[in-house]
């Protein structure tokens, strides 16, 4: 197994460092399917936080995990998007291609929701080629419209509600990212596969 390090946070929490988000999602999915007795299991960019459990119980469980021991691949969710975002040209400039190329690449990528954070329903989607990254805006917008489909670093994300934000906006969707009344309140929980479909 690669470098997996357990960092103690408190008597009842620890961070497992894995090095990348996909491994983190895999461990979190496996731990959740095992029914580990933690209050929260929170995958993130390269770690999994186990909160509300003795760190030594986490260490013991980890001995039985390998990155192959994953949970089932998630369902595919199709997200309709209108590619009319204000930052499309900036993305095209970073990627040294045309706006149409950006749209084609984005719409043909199978993304995977790797982890959530920042707001209920906000998922960090991985799947773009590693040479297709973009920086954040130098000055974040005070308001990004709800449903904005945006890029930052190698991630794609959709803003579930209006909020300040520095990601580059390439389009909008009316897909309901978050509905507390729904049985699964998040549309794109970790593990979900996502395909964007251009609407006309």
């Amino acid at each position: 197994m690669g470098a997996v390090r357990v960092v103690r946070v408190s008597e009842r929490a620890c961070l497992v460092e894995l090095g990348d988000a996909v491994a983190a999602a895999s461990l979190a999915g496996w731990a959740r399917s095992l029914g580990m007795a933690a209050d929260d299991i929170v995958p993130a960019a390269s770690t999994v936080l186990f909160d509300g459990i003795d760190p030594s119980d986490v260490e013991a469980a980890l001995r039985r995990w390998t990155p192959d021991a994953t949970a089932q691949p998630g369902a595919v969710v199709r997200v309709p998007v209108t590619y009319d975002g204000p930052d499309l040209e900036q993305v095209a400039a970073h990627w040294r291609c045309t706006v149409d190329d950006v749209i084609v690449l984005h719409a043909s990528t199978e993304f995977t929701a790797v982890f959530c954070g920042f707001a209920p329903g906000f998922s960090y989607l991985a799947g773009l080629p590693t040479d297709r990254t973009v920086p954040r805006l130098a000055t974040p917008r005070r308001r990004v419209a709800p449903g904005s489909v945006a890029l930052a670093d190698g991630w794609c994300g959709i803003y579930p509600t209006a909020s300040p934000g520095g990601w580059l906006v390439i389009g909008t969707t009316d897909a309901p990212l978050w509905d507390a009344e729904r049985e699964t309140p998040a549309l794109l929980p970790p593990g979900t596969r996502v395909r964007f479909e251009a609407t006309q």
Binding site: L15, D40, G117, A119, F122
Partner: protein, 280 residues
């Protein structure tokens, strides 16, 4: 229909034990910020452990009863009146129907708690009646004209005859955090007995501290899961103690974690209050 909100004050919300278990979907745990005061209020009215209570912020709340209710006020010391007659705090009181109950501004501290015998009947969201002020998951903040339904008081054990609430010293005990290695040499030792002031933008999300900048290495950390009580250290060097509505993930290093028993104190510290940090 039992209680009408006449004036919610600056910020009044319903809080219970919160909703841990949803952090992986980006949902803050919420829950009463001063857990001890909320639990005491519940006990005084013979409530269930997961009953919702009203949490006020600095300015109190004014309510009108539509039927007789038994209530108790705890937390930040304040004056409580029913139609102008003074009521005690820290004790259950039965108030008749059609009475205006005024929970006054906090004399010291920040947050008072009002519990009702029978609990507050509002639809839970993701298993809890708490409101998180980060993403506003949960019942809306209380508004003038809103009516709260109070449940029927059951046959619960007698509440305690007397309550003693000890004054807490404004000391926050810190344990080493997962990213303590981000501190500059000597910075951890410098935190011990250091005095900080509570910044004006402190809220349910975090207690922000103004004081001697805590020295740390430069750079950014990939976002990672955060715990209650985490002490985040932004590049400014001004620490933030994460409270109930903290975001589930964050990108500033957590150099310390506040002892859980000291978090209730954080709920009652006002802007300008001084607090001493201890690492030993």
């Amino acid at each position: 229909m039992s209680i009408e909100v006449l004036d919610p004050g600056p910020l009044s919300t319903l809080q219970d034990l919160g909703r841990p278990g949803w952090a992986h979907l980006g949902v803050a745990r919420a829950g009463a910020l001063d857990r001890g005061a909320a639990a005491l209020a519940r006990r005084l009215v013979g409530g269930a452990i997961d009953d919702a209570v009203v949490e006020t912020t600095l300015g109190g709340i004014v309510l009108r009863t539509r039927r007789a209710v038994t209530l108790a006020v705890t937390g930040a010391p304040c004056e409580v009146h029913a139609d102008g007659h003074g009521l005690g705090t820290g004790t259950p009181v039965t108030v008749p129907a059609d009475t205006v109950v005024t929970v006054g501004p906090a004399r010291t501290g920040v947050r008072s708690y009002v519990a009702f015998a029978g609990g507050i009947d509002v639809a839970p969201v993701l298993g809890s009646r708490s409101t998180d002020t980060l993403a506003w998951v949960g019942p809306s903040r209380l508004a003038a004209g809103q009516v709260l339904i109070i449940g029927a008081a059951g046959q619960w054990p007698e509440p305690p005859a007397a309550v003693v609430v000890r004054r807490r010293e404004p000391v926050l005990r810190l344990r080493p955090g997962p990213r303590i290695d981000w501190l500059a040499p000597g910075a951890w030792a410098a935190l011990d007995r250091a005095t900080y002031a509570v910044a004006p933008d402190s809220d349910r999300i975090g207690l922000r501290l103004d004081g001697p900048p805590v020295e740390r290495r430069a750079g950014e950390l990939p976002s990672e899961g955060m715990v209650l009580g985490a002490v985040q250290l932004p590049p400014s060097g001004q620490p933030v103690v994460f409270l109930a509505d903290h975001p589930p993930t964050g990108g500033y290093p957590v150099v310390a974690v506040v002892e859980d028993a000291d978090l209730d104190l954080c709920a009652q510290l006002r802007p300008g209050d001084q607090v001493v940090l201890r690492t030993a």
